[in-house]
């Protein structure tokens, strides 16, 4: 019995306008972690959604525990023990944590909620993922995005789970929380649960996966044992080419100071913070979830109003310093922001790539208020080619692009604006290896042109590869700044944890 797979997929295919998945056959053993990886748009999320009943396959069959398995809905799949943590957050912000955790199966007597039982069950589920301090009656809207992701995961940790699909669960988590998650995964595996784990972070796959399945353009190219697999091999299979990674380079020559931040503060989230950003350098910002990085970027950009402090841009020609109080003025001054939540804050989803790209500078594609369509299309086509955006053409709505390609469109927007200082918040979240390499080389090119870049990322390896300096935030403070060559993964992590542990975190409630 032990040899029969728990879940098998045979010739699964899915067509939208185009074929997205084609002839994928896979099997999943009991108590196994199967990593699923591949470039953006390779079809990972689609495949996972088919397994858990959210998408109907066009072709193919599945079996679960030897029985034919064709879930008609997510409910149906969950009844059979197949659950999924979605790539995009699926929480309801106006409802409480407890309600979100039990959504779809709220305990009730004749329609009236049993609130005592709800609180108790919610606490038990939160405890599994290390959030025992969270009041179950907190509205989810008061949580930061990282904690929201944790709640999303906690929601799917049930005892009756047989198969758990995790679609990029760590994209918004910091190392500490990722560790928590991996502990939980290990426990589940020990209990015989099978896990499908989707991620672009290869080092994570090394840590927890037994086997890895690689998708490319909707086809399964390989299923390999993880043991002893070298990263370069994996990458090559994913993108069909090898990647050159140069970590040994020295610091770029730093130009004059371009952006000066002095004593910027807002509430408990950002304590008075000062920093200087030079032309031609990439400054990284590391830190745990809730350490205040996103808020700092928003304060710099003028998207939120600071309680204290100032920001100024020093023009390259030595003219008078420029200041701004809102994003509109910031953009005029020559600053751009790639925001953390691209769907809510970045993209016009139903609109085309073209419209989304030129948004940052409509003046460049218009004359006296009237748009120049030919000019605009030409410019955008150029950018689409440079960034290797996977799309039919520049008229495709961005809603139809995969997450990574959507990120490239936002990137294209700021390339179009040609701004002097770019603030990037988790620019490679959910972006595949190949596309990441494209984005990195763009960033480096921009730095080489003398622009100043400030990059927030939870991926330390990315920061270490990319940056000239790395600042570490903890508890709303910029606790330390490392020069290139001074840092190690350990020293960065130590700095990130340096504020009182547990991190002073406004999103958590005090213990009851």
């Amino acid at each position: 019995m032990e040899r029969t797979p728990l879940l098998t997929l045979e010739g699964i295919g899915k067509d939208y306008a185009a074929t997205v998945l084609d002839g994928v056959s896979l099997s999943l053993q009991r108590g196994e972690v199967l990593a699923l990886t591949g470039e953006n748009g390779a079809g990972k999320s689609t495949l996972s959604k088919i397994v858990c009943g959210l998408v109907n396959p066009t072709r193919g069959r599945m079996t679960l525990d030897g029985q034919a398995y064709a879930p008609v809905s997510r409910r149906d799949a969950e009844r059979q023990g197949v659950r999924m943590v979605l790539q995009e957050l699926g929480l309801v912000p106006t409802l409480t944590v407890a309600e979100n955790l039990l959504l779809g199966a709220l305990p009730h007597t004749a329609g009236w909620l049993r609130r005592g039982e709800m609180a108790q069950r919610a606490r038990a589920q939160l405890a599994r993922i290390g959030l025992e301090d969270l009041d179950p009656w907190t509205p989810v809207s008061r949580l930061g995005i990282g904690h929201q992701q944790m709640v999303e995961i906690a929601r799917n940790l049930h005892d009756d789970t047989r198969v758990l699909m995790l679609d990029e669960p760590t994209a918004m988590l910091t190392p500490r929380e990722t560790d928590r998650l991996f502990e939980q995964v290990a426990q589940l595996v020990a209990a015989g649960v099978s896990i499908v784990y989707v991620s672009h972070r290869l080092e994570e796959l090394q840590r927890i996966a037994h086997r890895v399945a690689v998708l490319r353009d909707g086809r399964l190219v390989d299923v390999l044992p993880m043991q002893g697999l070298r990263e370069e091999e994996l990458v090559e299979r994913m993108i069909g080419r090898t990647l050159v990674e140069d970590n040994g380079r020295g610091r770029r020559p730093a130009g004059p100071v371009r952006l000066r931040v002095q004593g910027l503060a807002r509430g408990k989230v950002v304590r008075p913070t000062s920093l200087e950003l030079h032309g031609g350098e990439i400054l990284g910002l590391a830190g745990l979830v809730g350490s205040g990085r996103t808020e700092l970027l928003r304060l710099i950009y003028g998207a939120d109003q600071p309680d204290a402090g100032s920001v100024e841009l020093l023009p390259i020609d030595g003219g008078p310093a420029r200041r701004w109080r809102n994003p509109v003025q910031a953009v005029k001054a020559g600053i751009g922001l790639v925001s953390e939540d691209r769907k809510a804050e970045g993209l016009l989803l139903p609109q085309s790539i073209r419209v989304n790209t030129t948004l940052s500078d409509l003046g460049a594609v218009s004359a006296r208020g009237w748009l120049k369509p030919a000019r605009e299309s030409g410019l955008v086509q150029q950018l689409v080619k440079t960034l290797r955006v996977r799309c039919t053409d520049e008229e495709q709505p961005v809603a139809a692009l995969s997450g990574g390609n959507q990120q490239k469109v936002i990137f294209a927007r700021w390339l179009h604006r040609n701004c002097e200082v770019l603030l990037l918040d988790e620019p490679t979240r959910g972006v595949d290896i190949g596309a990441r390499a494209d984005l990195y080389s763009q960033l480096e090119r921009m730095a080489a042109e003398g622009r100043a870049l400030l990059v927030v990322s939870s991926d330390l390896r990315e920061l270490m590869a990319l940056c000239d300096r790395i600042g570490v935030m903890s508890g709303g403070r910029l606790v330390r700044t490392f020069e290139r060559g001074q840092w190690t993964e350990q020293s960065l992590l130590a700095a990130a944890f340096s504020a009182a542990v547990p991190a002073e975190d406004a999103t958590l409630s005090e213990p009851a």
């Binding site: 106006t94 709220l106 008061r142 408990k268 989230v269 009851a512």
Partner: protein, 325 residues
């Protein structure tokens, strides 16, 4: 954003902030009462308040339904027509078909549920905004009310007036029913699976669907409920008039929506409260009563009403924003 300089959100904190909301609206109300009391010698009197109390049930009952509709991110412009149809059908059943009063009342309520259910179903089945579907319903149902009454006010007489009669210390049964419905409505909204689903659907329908909650029957139920309450309002009004007027309730939808929004319920869905809606109803009722007693001219009534609506919403929004940070 994780900006929150405020203390952590505990249970008692939530309760306190809810009370603060009530106090804010109550302050607006008290200010208005004081103002009118200085303007008119007789405003501040038991008679005035009893009169106000007995005037509001129909508006309050409709506002309870509209609160649910707005929370689920819908809107219902047809409540005024449904009010008229329900009264018209009941009156016709009593007068022409010799039905008993309870049976006729049930017919009126049933018609309301049906109108609401049809509105909800069409809007859900074709995924149309409820705004436009209810705009169509508004016309169709009004036409039906004309047809049923042959375009004439139907006088029924005292048989149906008990709902509106003074009862507990001069307060009518209709008012007691309205207050009970406000309480029950608030409990349903905050303490039942249905209520939480309504809030969830209004906030993020897709998330609810993914969580295995089918939004469609809930949406339909919300509209059916609103239809029922509009029909009940029709009966209350008919009881007060002892007659069914096929023109009743024209334009009342905007007053109802104004009351709900003044009470702080969001037009975008996902946020709202039945209790604060009741405050909105009181504010509108006091305003109308006060203006009538003062004997304001028609243009100035219009101007004052418009300004109060906007001002009340501004006050409410600013206060919420200050607390919300």
């Amino acid at each position: 954003m994780t900006s929150s300089a405020s203390p952590s959100p505990t249970r008692t904190g939530a309760l306190r902030s809810e009370l603060a909301t009530y106090l804010g609206l109550a302050a607006v109300l008290v200010a208005m009462v004081l103002l009118f009391s200085t303007l008119s010698d007789y405003f501040f009197s038991v008679e005035t308040f009893i009169a106000i109390v007995n005037e509001i049930p129909a508006l309050a009952v409709m506002a309870v339904g509209m609160t649910f509709v707005l929370i689920v991110a819908g809107i219902d412009l047809s409540v005024g027509s449904v009010l008229a149809l329900s009264a018209a059908l009941s009156a016709t059943a009593i007068l022409q078909w010799q039905w008993s009063v309870p049976a006729a009342a049930l017919l009126g309520l049933g018609a309301g549920v049906l109108c609401g259910a049809v509105l909800g179903s069409v809007s859900v089945a074709f995924r149309l905004p409820s705004f436009i579907v209810s705009l169509g319903m508004l016309e169709v149902v009004r036409g039906a009310a004309y047809l049923v009454t042959d375009s004439r006010t139907q006088y029924v007489g005292e048989r149906i007036s008990w709902l509106a009669q003074p009862w507990l210390g001069n307060v009518s049964a209709a008012f007691v029913i309205a207050v009970l419905l406000v309480i029950v409505g608030q409990l349903v909204l905050t303490r039942t699976v249905f209520g939480r689903s309504v809030v969830g659907i209004g906030t993020n329908e897709e998330a609810m669907r993914l969580a295995g909650v089918d939004p469609r029957p809930i949406r339909i139920a919300v509209f059916a409920l609103t239809g029922l309450l509009a029909a009940l309002a029709g009966l209350m009004q008919a009881a007060r008039l002892e007659a069914a007027d096929p023109n009743a309730g024209q334009g009342i939808e905007l007053r109802v929506i104004a009351a709900v929004v003044i009470g702080g319920t969001s037009l975008m869905g996902g946020r709202g409260s039945v209790v604060t809606t009741f405050f909105g109803v009181l504010i509108i009722a006091v305003l109308e009563a006060g203006l009538a007693q003062v004997g304001a001219s028609e243009p100035s009534k219009r101007v004052v009403t418009g300004c109060v609506i906007v001002a009340a919403v501004i006050v409410d929004t600013l206060r919420q924003r200050r607390r919300g940070g």
